[in-house]
């Protein structure tokens, strides 16, 4: 028996209850279909979490072509997150942490050089209650933490059952995450927070103008809309 496979057909994709026809080609990747659906529905929030699901609950394999995945003309597919995002707690920042951070960054940087501090807390709590100012070299364009200090720091953290919860560093002008910031955070674990303060942290102790980001599971950084997404400030 000959089976005719349509090379170009349409699927029905459902997002937030709304159904839209999306054209596909048998040879194209499922990821292309997902991208087209994301664009059609105008999804802007966490689109990287979205996958397509069949009506039998199985997920459509994104590593395959439309044909390999067995998608059929007019098949109804649900576009939804592959992991319903969790709601664990935000880090609570103790009252003295932010003023102390600005004080250290201002005193060390003198409005002329970049500087860095690390926010620490007990491994058993969701609170930041310590600020560590490392030994480092500095310039208007960067800093480098001394490796011996880092070794001692890790030992100290282990013995006191504390961990680094976030790093905070300064930039001369605009706050952003440079490629070296992306590559060399002090902690490379998913969920780790990085904060970049503009203007060498001169001015009032606030995170309003800061760049705040978090490491995702795949190692990429995601900039957040505001610090309040991950931090509870006093």
């Amino acid at each position: 028996m000959n089976v005719t496979i349509e090379k170009k057909f349409r699927t029905e994709v459902v997002y937030n209850g709304v159904e839209k026809p999306i054209q596909v080609e048998a040879e194209e990747r499922v990821t292309a279909l997902i991208q087209r659906a994301i664009a059609a529905f105008g999804v802007t929030q966490q689109p990287h979490l979205l996958s397509l699901f069949r009506q039998d609950g199985t997920v459509v394999n994104e590593n395959q072509s439309v044909e390999q995945a067995g998608l059929k003309p007019h098949e109804v597919l649900l576009l939804r997150p592959n992991a319903v995002k969790g709601g664990s707690e935000r880090l609570k920042v103790a009252g003295e942490v932010l003023p102390a951070t600005f004080r250290m960054l201002q005193e060390c940087g003198q409005g002329q050089c970049e500087c860095v501090v690390y926010w620490t807390g007990s491994t058993s709590s969701g609170e930041v209650d310590g600020v560590e100012h490392p030994e480092h070299t500095r310039s208007p364009f960067g800093y480098e933490v001394r490796s011996q200090w880092l070794t001692d720091f890790w030992k100290r953290l282990a013995s006191s059952r504390r961990s680094v919860r976030a790093q905070v560093h300064t930039h001369p002008d605009e706050p952003f995450h440079s490629s070296s910031d992306d590559r060399w955070p002090i902690v490379s674990q998913a969920g780790f927070i990085s904060i970049v303060l503009p203007n060498f942290a001169l001015g009032r102790p606030t995170l309003h103008n800061a760049w705040v980001g978090v490491i995702l599971r795949d190692g990429r950084w995601r900039q957040l809309e505001s610090a309040s997404e991950v931090l509870v400030m006093p």
């Binding site: 609950g57 992991a83 319903v84 995002k85 978090v214 599971r217």
Partner: protein
């Protein structure tokens, strides 16, 4: 702005459709300046279901920061309506003025022009020159319809599940109307916010008896929004029997008020378990003010029926690994509800949610979405207790409350077992042995 903190999560959710150039302040102001009018005559609020519809609607509107005016006669409460207090309906509602969310007023003034009107059942209304939806329904189904579309029946039912569904449907229309007045990210956002001229939800349980529910021992893991919405629904079921324990370590924060249905502003800073126990003491047999999985193993032995209301994926896995006989998991994701049930031997919650994606921990939420999650959870529990649980074909529900008028608003599906199930449940292990090519 007063109330900005309380509406923090709702404003965050609005960002799905409202561009970054619109300030949080402006979104907050838009919500807080919506004038809603709720109208009911004596007949329509003389039953428990009618009263529950009104109380639930007012709570959901108020938790979005909206202003609520009531045009209702004075009637006594048929049954308690926690977290409200008082013996008469009007006094209880007005007593909650600014109690749900700061600056969200509830009063009986009607000398203003409403932006939107909600009328219960067949209550006659004057010509207010504002869009009006009617809330109707029966024991197990709820409906909204724009005024003039049909012949609305009066509320005559006592059993309240359908009335809470109609309230959730109505609150959604108020929210969408508010957002339609703000700039949107793109034209693609418009279909999600289009008004639903009529919408309905039927739990499909008319064959289930509406009295004598005995749920036995039930453990709730979390006293957050979904558990509170489920308990809010259960405490309104006449003569229900349940011995519930609640595990929760957290305290109430200002940002919880937008969705925690048993919580008032006065509860900020108080342990969530205490708040819940105070509001529905007849349901709660024990409170454990600790995170599940971190404490006493003996204490953490689970009841035969477990409700998990935490969005945190690893916490769901942890409960599932303890192999409860029956588990219902309720969650929200932006404007969607995820509800699943897992009996021993079936594909588990790890099969459904095999991935945890670390990221920002502030979850965007809004009152009516969280409420739907709790309402569905409560229904699943009632069905299980009566020996008529959903079939495997309906093991998972993906609900999109924004457009309940559309045929794809509710997407039911089985939960297929996965070889890479992080819980390594029985169903996933059997799969590995028998089907080497399965997902």
């Amino acid at each position: 702005m007063n109330g900005l903190q309380n509406l923090d999560r709702t404003i965050l959710l609005c960002r799905d459709y409202v561009p970054d150039g619109v300030t949080n302040y402006r979104i907050c102001e838009r919500l807080q300046t919506r004038q809603t009018l709720c109208i009911a005559d004596r007949r329509n609020i003389s039953t428990h279901a009618g009263q529950t519809a009104l109380v639930t609607l007012v709570s959901l509107l108020s938790r979005m920061g909206m202003q609520v005016a009531l045009d209702i006669p004075e009637v006594n409460l048929v049954s308690a309506q926690p977290p409200l207090q008082g013996s008469s309906l009007g006094a209880a509602l007005v007593g909650a003025n600014e109690a749900f969310v700061a600056s969200a007023t509830i009063n009986t003034r009607t000398d203003f022009r409403p932006d939107i009107i909600f009328a219960l059942g067949d209550t006659p209304i004057e010509d207010y020159r504002a869009p009006c939806w009617r809330l109707t329904g029966d024991e197990w189904s709820g409906r909204i319809e724009m005024d003039g579309l049909g012949e609305p029946p009066a509320w005559t039912a006592e059993f309240p599940m359908g009335s809470m569904a109609s309230a959730a449907l109505a609150a959604t229309e108020a929210f969408k109307a508010a957002l339609r007045g703000l700039p949107l990210r793109s034209l693609a956002c418009q279909p999600f916010l289009r008004e639903s001229r009529s919408a309905s939800w039927d739990f499909g349980l008319s064959s289930i008896p509406m009295a004598g529910f005995d749920l036995g021992e039930v453990d709730f893991v979390s006293a957050g929004a979904i558990s509170q919405a489920a308990l809010y629904a259960l405490v309104r079921i006449p003569k229900i029997q349940i011995r519930a324990r609640i595990f929760e370590h957290d305290v109430t924060e200002a940002s919880n008020l937008n969705r925690n249905m048993l919580t008032l502003r006065e509860d900020i800073g108080h342990a969530k378990v205490r708040v819940v126990a105070r509001r529905c003491p007849e349901l709660i047999a024990g409170t454990i003010p600790a995170r599940y999985g971190n404490g006493d193993v003996e204490l953490e032995k689970l009841a035969p029926r477990v409700v998990v209301g935490v969005d945190d994926i690893p916490s769901r896995w942890q409960v599932q690994r303890r192999q409860p006989a029956w588990l219902v998991v309720g969650g929200t994701s932006h404007f969607n509800v995820s509800s699943s049930i897992h009996s021993l031997g079936e594909a588990c919650s790890g099969c459904l949610h095999p991935i945890d994606e670390p990221g920002p921990n502030v979850i965007p939420t809004v009152s009516f979405v969280s409420f739907w999650a709790g309402l569905i959870t409560a229904t699943r529990l009632l069905m299980e207790a009566t020996g008529k649980p959903h079939s495997l074909r309906k093991q998972h529900l993906w609900l999109s409350p924004l457009r309940m008028d559309l045929p794809r608003a509710a997407m039911w599906s089985p939960v297929p077992p996965r070889r890479d199930c992080p819980v390594k449940c029985l169903a996933s292990r059997s799969l590995t042995e028998t089907d080497p090519i399965a997902a």
